[in-house]
């Protein structure tokens, strides 16, 4: 994910949308300067708590993609048909060029293929595409 971002960030806008926790612990440790591990993160109850969990995530996974925070009612989770994780590539007309979801939903390799196809056709979706 980070490698894809570094390679294409001048031509593509990347966002990591931090959604609700897929496997929260029942009583999560409070967020703060000391980074938490995934096994210490509970389900955030406020958007500020979600911001702290997202901070732990980008520190733990060491990436610097721009991060957006999903709403507490899970709007992004719902409209992108998420199941634990998802990847979506969107062309300049706002059409889906690639979508994956599920436990293996983060698929930078497949996203790169879709991005290459888009960039070869001026950011617009050709007729053919693929999704997982």
């Amino acid at each position: 994910m980070q490698a894809l971002y570094v390679a294409y960030k001048d031509k593509v806008e990347f966002f990591f949308v931090y959604t609700r926790e897929a496997h929260p612990v029942r009583e999560g440790k409070e967020g703060g300067p000391a980074p938490r591990t995934p096994s210490e993160i509970g389900e955030p109850k406020t958007i500020e708590e979600r911001a702290l969990a997202a901070t732990d995530c980008i520190r733990g996974l060491k990436f610097d993609l721009p991060v957006l925070l999903d709403t507490m009612d899970g709007h992004a989770w719902g409209v992108y048909h998420m199941h634990q994780a998802a990847t979506a590539v969107i062309d300049v007309d706002g059409r889906i060029a690639f979508h994956s979801r599920g436990p293996q939903g983060v698929q930078p390799g497949e996203a790169e293929k879709a991005l290459k196809q888009l960039l070869a056709s001026k950011g617009r979706l050709a007729d053919s595409g693929s999704s997982r």
């Binding site: 294409y8 031509k11 593509v12 806008e13 990347f14 966002f15 990591f16 949308v17 931090y18 959604t19 926790e21 897929a22 612990v25 300067p33 980074p35 995934p38 096994s39 993160i41 958007i47 911001a51 969990a53 997202a54 732990d56 995530c57 980008i58 721009p66 991060v67 957006l68 999903d70 709403t71 709007h75 992004a76 409209v79 992108y80 048909h81 998420m82 199941h83 634990q84 994780a85 998802a86 990847t87 979506a88 590539v89 969107i90 062309d91 300049v92 007309d93 706002g94 059409r95 889906i96 060029a97 979508h99 994956s100 979801r101 983060v106 996203a111 888009l118 950011g123 595409g129 999704s131």
Partner: protein, 121 residues
């Protein structure tokens, strides 16, 4: 007196028993014949005179995934706050909810967009 009464009752019981057995047998025969007269759904082409086979939906295997978004369909728009990072005293940074919101439709009008949606856990 008792024998006179018992005979018709016994006859009635016998007739009812026989009728029940006959109906049960007919029902079994009907079920056995059904596959011979109608094709199995979703298996092979229909014989002339038989109703066409209908493809069965795949049997659900465990927990179903939500449907994929279709390639070429309009992407759902989002307007979400950014994570703003502020430096902490110990040199690390703390994430806060940024004041600025990002609307995807205004972004994809300029460049293709790649979204990764997930959490840490």
């Amino acid at each position: 007196m008792r024998r006179r009464l018992a005979r018709p009752v016994l006859r009635l019981v016998f007739v009812l028993l026989a009728a029940t057995l006959a109906l049960g047998h007919l029902a079994c025969v009907g079920q056995e014949q059904r596959p011979l007269t109608a094709p199995l759904q979703g298996r092979g082409p229909a014989e002339p005179g038989n109703p066409p086979a209908v493809a069965r939906p795949p049997r659900p295997q465990g927990r179903e995934l939500p449907p994929l978004l279709i390639i070429g369909q309009k992407a759902p728009d989002l307007e979400l706050p950014r994570l703003a990072l502020k430096a902490a005293r110990d040199g690390t940074f703390i994430g806060k909810v940024g004041g600025e919101k990002v609307r995807l439709s205004s972004v994809w009008a300029r460049k293709p967009v790649c979204l990764f949606l997930s959490s840490y856990t």
